[in-house]
């Protein structure tokens, strides 16, 4: 079949600046995600109640509409964006909706009729898409974000600190002070703080990376930074500790510190920062274990879940393990298991519901979809042309990876439980909407990365006027 000049890349290069936009791929993959979403809903209905729910048509139209809108907006505002990001998100959201719907039905069979959470989650997803569209529309060039770095830092810190300052009646749920509950709504401002802080980290590190990359002393073959340059990392460490102390939120604490250290490493290319990070983390962990009963309990439960079952803190984890084990290779099928036996299955433990009903294959598929999302984000970071974009994309992608690792590791007993949410899959408005914002930024940057370079790029002021690094993909 190979004709003399059928290589599309060769032809494209000859034609000038033809880069495939890949929007067709995105549309096809999105259609596939919608199909899986609708089929999953049908299976849940048929297995649990024996008939399709009357709202199925509305639901299907709504969910399809959401992704059509998102796709059209990407087509218009970010035509070169990575075609895998949005379909991966759509698949996770759709699967999450099916599992939440399934748990709703299980709840209705109980003595007390519980609230239906799936429609609420659909509303949150809609809000997420709105925010996604708004970010693509407002942030036409991600480099503009660097201008607002310090503002975003303040906003981020304020969001982070808010639950700690508010009275416990508003902010405390199950021991963790990470909520703002007002008029029937509850949001976790920490989810948004995370993104604000990542933008700030990126801008700040681009600005300061030359200084932070300086090494002065060599100890045992490792080049260590100067004492005065330890400031930022100590600051991040301190804030993480404060989150742990005042909000009793092990997960966010771990998340923020991990993201900062990795971004610092990427910015400076110095492995010694990782080492310092690990030392600080270990120190913090040991101290936290000694001082905080709730941390100690988490760790002890993790080490011996069955020893704390059924009357101790191990109940959740053991139930989760039972669910996963009972699910086995193929799972009980959507609607066929008992995932409602795991407390808070809709939010923290949704992965164990997936593992129980869709089996090992389903759970691994979900992990792989996350992996695709993260690796596409990191790939964007690799090929985007400016240093700020690189760091921002790396930070956002790593944040997603780190969060998925910590929360799934917790649910499957690999790590102590932390109480982080499972992005896109779990019930929870703040997490869902915030992660839509995160993906919007990745889409924006992937568009910039793959877009053919304009002949004369307008100079964009950088924080502290640091030189822009141009890296070829």
């Amino acid at each position: 079949m190979a004709g003399p000049s059928t290589d599309p890349r060769g032809a494209g290069a000859a034609a000038g600046t033809q880069v495939p936009k890949r929007r067709g791929t995105e549309a096809a993959l999105l259609a596939f995600s919608v199909l899986i979403t609708v089929v999953a809903q049908c299976i849940v209905d048929l297995t649990v109640t024996g008939s399709l729910s009357s709202e199925l048509a509305t639901f299907s139209a709504w969910i399809a509409g959401l992704w059509v809108v998102a796709h059209l907006v990407v087509r218009r505002l970010a035509p070169y964006a990575d075609p895998l990001l949005l379909p991966a998100v759509a698949l996770l959201v759709g699967l999450g909706l099916a599992v939440i719907h399934r748990l709703d039905l299980a709840g209705q069979q109980g003595e007390h009729v519980s609230r239906e959470d799936a429609p609420v989650q659909l509303l949150w997803a809609t809000l997420g898409v709105v925010l996604f569209v708004a970010i693509l529309a407002l942030v036409r060039d991600h480099r503009l974000l660097a201008r607002y770095a310090y503002t975003l830092a303040l906003v981020g810190l304020a969001l982070l600190a808010m639950p700690a300052v508010l009275p416990g009646s508003i902010s405390e749920v199950n021991g963790a002070k990470i909520w703002i509950r007002l008029a029937g709504f509850s949001i976790q401002p920490g989810e948004f703080a995370k993104i604000c802080l990542i933008v700030f980290f990126a801008a700040y590190l681009v600005d300061k990376r030359d200084v932070l990359a300086l090494a002065s002393r060599k100890v045992a073959g490792i080049e260590l930074p100067r004492g005065r340059d330890l400031g930022p990392v100590l600051m991040a460490w301190g804030i993480s500790i404060l989150v742990l102390v005042f909000e009793r939120d092990l997960g966010s604490s771990l998340l923020l510190f991990g993201i900062f250290v990795v971004m610092l490493y990427v910015a400076t290319e110095r492995a010694s920062w990782l080492l310092i990070g690990v030392v600080l983390f270990s120190g913090g962990s040991v101290i936290a274990y000694q001082i905080f009963a709730h941390v100690r309990e988490r760790v002890d439960t993790w080490l011996d879940p069955f020893g704390h079952y059924p009357n101790g803190g191990g109940y959740q984890l053991v139930q989760s393990l039972f669910g996963l084990g009972t699910g086995g290779l193929f799972g009980a099928g959507l609607g066929g298991g008992r995932p409602d036996q795991v407390p808070v299955a809709k939010s923290d433990f949704i992965a164990s519901a997936v593992g129980e009903e869709l089996g090992l294959f389903g759970l691994v598929a979900v992990i792989v979809v996350y992996l695709i999302l993260v690796e596409r984000g990191l790939r964007t970071s690799l090929i985007v042309r400016d240093a700020f974009g690189k760091l921002l994309a790396a930070g956002l992608a790593f944040a997603m990876a780190w969060q998925v690792f910590v929360v799934l590791g917790g649910v499957t007993g690999l790590l102590p439980l932390t109480g982080l949410t499972t992005p896109f899959l779990a019930y929870g408005g703040s997490s869902l909407v915030a992660n839509f914002a995160l993906v919007a930024l990745l889409v924006r940057m992937s568009d910039a990365a793959r877009r053919p370079a304009a002949p004369h790029p307008a100079p964009v002021p950088q924080l502290g006027e640091a030189p822009t690094e141009v890296v070829q993909p």
Binding site: Q109, P310, L324, G409, T412
Partner: protein, 481 residues
């Protein structure tokens, strides 16, 4: 920045690989273990939607599922409360199931292959699937007499049909109320469980099959069997000193309460068994040698192996015999010899059945929900420890125990009873364990029994034999004894 970025990308890959490996470990390697964990109520909760089969004794259900109005469709009830608790076990939301509820679960839940055709039919006819019934070999009169005899004590009674191995009675005290562990209220279940946790011993332990104790003089039946097999006769004369110096140690072995067997003179084997002479049997054991004693004990089933009837019976064993002194003590059922009451009953049953030991079993029939019998247990021989000849000689010797010796309390007017008492010493200041094994009628045995009272404090003849009497009598009354 691309070099560290690539490293980050690889690290992420490694982290996710860890996740996937761990999930594989849980969902594949540990899958069965987690699924069958007693605390995993998933499979159980699914079963609650199905009408579970009954466990039946003498035509009446002793475990039955009744419909309820709450979230779980069926509630498990045990109409006889604690009478059969050690056998049925419980069926708990919180703690999973135990006893026959566990070992016969496939039948009761309806998933047993023997019910396959029936299940297939349910599928086509739209009938609600139901589990099969398990009909037990137990005799209600025997069970009640046994429980009444050991009520208020820690102990066990096992009664067997010697010709088949069918378990006629199996009682254990202290007992518990399985209804309270099988309710649909987890808080109450936990509270009751906590209450049981505090009791000593735990009432959930079945003393008849799950615990082992030194058998004391009951073991002399086995030593007698070994001697008869080695060419002794009941009339063979044994040395029966008032006290025996144990070789290789400064200790001496005395008779019960320091008594004399025959004024220190030699004594026949039958008389030594009748009065349960310690010094005579200790000397006899040493004369026979460890191999013969051990071989005979193992032939009776004391080889340390557990057995399923289908409840798990802990293995009984003679222990390690280290030297002549140890052999002397072993021969009178002390030292490291340990026996379950079930094993003791098996010894009696083997002698009663002309030396053929039948494998004990609890389940007589498996019935489909429409009461058609789909399976019936066929009696199986477990071993033949002794010949019919030796069995007859032993029977004569054991009749002498009940007629003239330590087991007089087991005598039943008009019925010949054979038996052997046991009083096992545990230590200074701790009350002795009391045993009795026996069978009746001696010429044509219908029932063999073992009675065990933990720390009964009296003698086997004084404490255990009267209970055996009641149990034997209860069965023979109903079976033309």
């Amino acid at each position: 920045m691309n070099a560290p970025l690539r490293r980050v990308a690889i690290s992420v890959l490694v982290l996710f690989t860890l996740l996937i490996v761990n999930v594989n470990y849980i969902q594949v390697v540990r899958s069965d273990e987690l699924r069958n964990n007693a605390g995993n109520t998933r499979v159980l909760a699914e079963e609650y939607d199905r009408e579970r089969g009954s466990i039946v004794v003498g035509g009446d259900p002793i475990a039955v599922s009744v419909p309820t109005n709450d979230r779980l469709t069926y509630l498990r009830k045990y109409p006889q409360g604690d009478l059969y608790a050690g056998i049925t076990g419980y069926y708990s939301l919180v703690y999973g199931n135990t006893g026959l509820e566990r070992s016969e679960n496939d039948v009761l839940a309806g998933s047993d292959p023997r019910l396959f055709v029936r299940r297939l039919a349910d599928l086509f006819t739209g009938r609600d699937p139901a589990g099969g019934d398990v009909v037990l070999t137990l005799d209600p009169a025997v069970q009640k007499a046994a429980m009444a005899g050991i009520a208020g004590k820690t102990g066990a009674v096992v009664a067997l049909d010697p010709s088949t191995g069918a378990v006629l009675g199996m009682a254990s005290t202290p007992s518990f109320d399985p209804n309270q562990l099988s309710s649909h209220e987890p808080a109450k279940i936990r509270a009751y469980s906590a209450q049981l946790d505090k009791a000593d011993p735990d009432p959930r332990n079945n003393q008849a099959i799950g615990e082992r104790y030194p058998p004391g003089s009951v073991f002399k039946v086995i030593v007698s069997a070994a001697a008869l097999k080695a060419g002794y006769t009941p009339q063979s004369m044994l040395k029966a000193p008032n006290q025996l110096d144990l070789p290789g140690s400064t200790a001496t072995l005395k008779n019960f309460a320091g008594e004399s067997c025959n004024g220190g003179a030699d004594q026949s084997l039958i008389d030594a068994l009748t009065v349960s002479c310690n010094t005579a049997f200790a000397q006899l054991g040493m004369d026979l040698g460890e191999d013969k004693v051990r071989a005979m004990a193992e032939a009776f089933g004391m080889d340390g192996q557990s057995m399923d009837i289908p409840l798990r019976v802990t293995g009984s064993s003679v222990g390690g015999i280290d030297g002549k002194a140890a052999l002397a003590q072993t021969s009178i059922g002390q030292r490291d010899v340990v026996m379950t009451p079930m094993q003791a009953a098996m010894v009696a049953a083997a002698v009663a059945n002309d030396g053929r030991l039948m494998k004990p079993y609890l389940v007589d029939q498996v019935r489909a929900p429409d009461l058609t019998v789909i399976d019936r247990t066929k009696p199986k021989e477990f071993s033949t420890p002794i010949s019919a000849d030796i069995a007859n000689q032993l029977t004569t010797m054991m009749m002498s125990v009940v007629e003239n010796g330590s087991g007089k309390a087991a005598r039943i007017p008009g019925v010949q009873v054979a038996g052997k008492t046991g009083t096992a010493q545990i230590g200074k200041g701790i009350p002795d364990h009391n045993w009795f094994i026996g069978f009746a009628p001696a010429d044509h045995p219908k029932i063999a029994v073992a009675v065990f009272i933990k720390n009964g404090g009296g003698t086997g003849g004084g404490v255990a034999a009267p209970i055996a009497h009641d149990v034997l009598q209860a069965y023979l009354n109903g079976h033309g004894g």
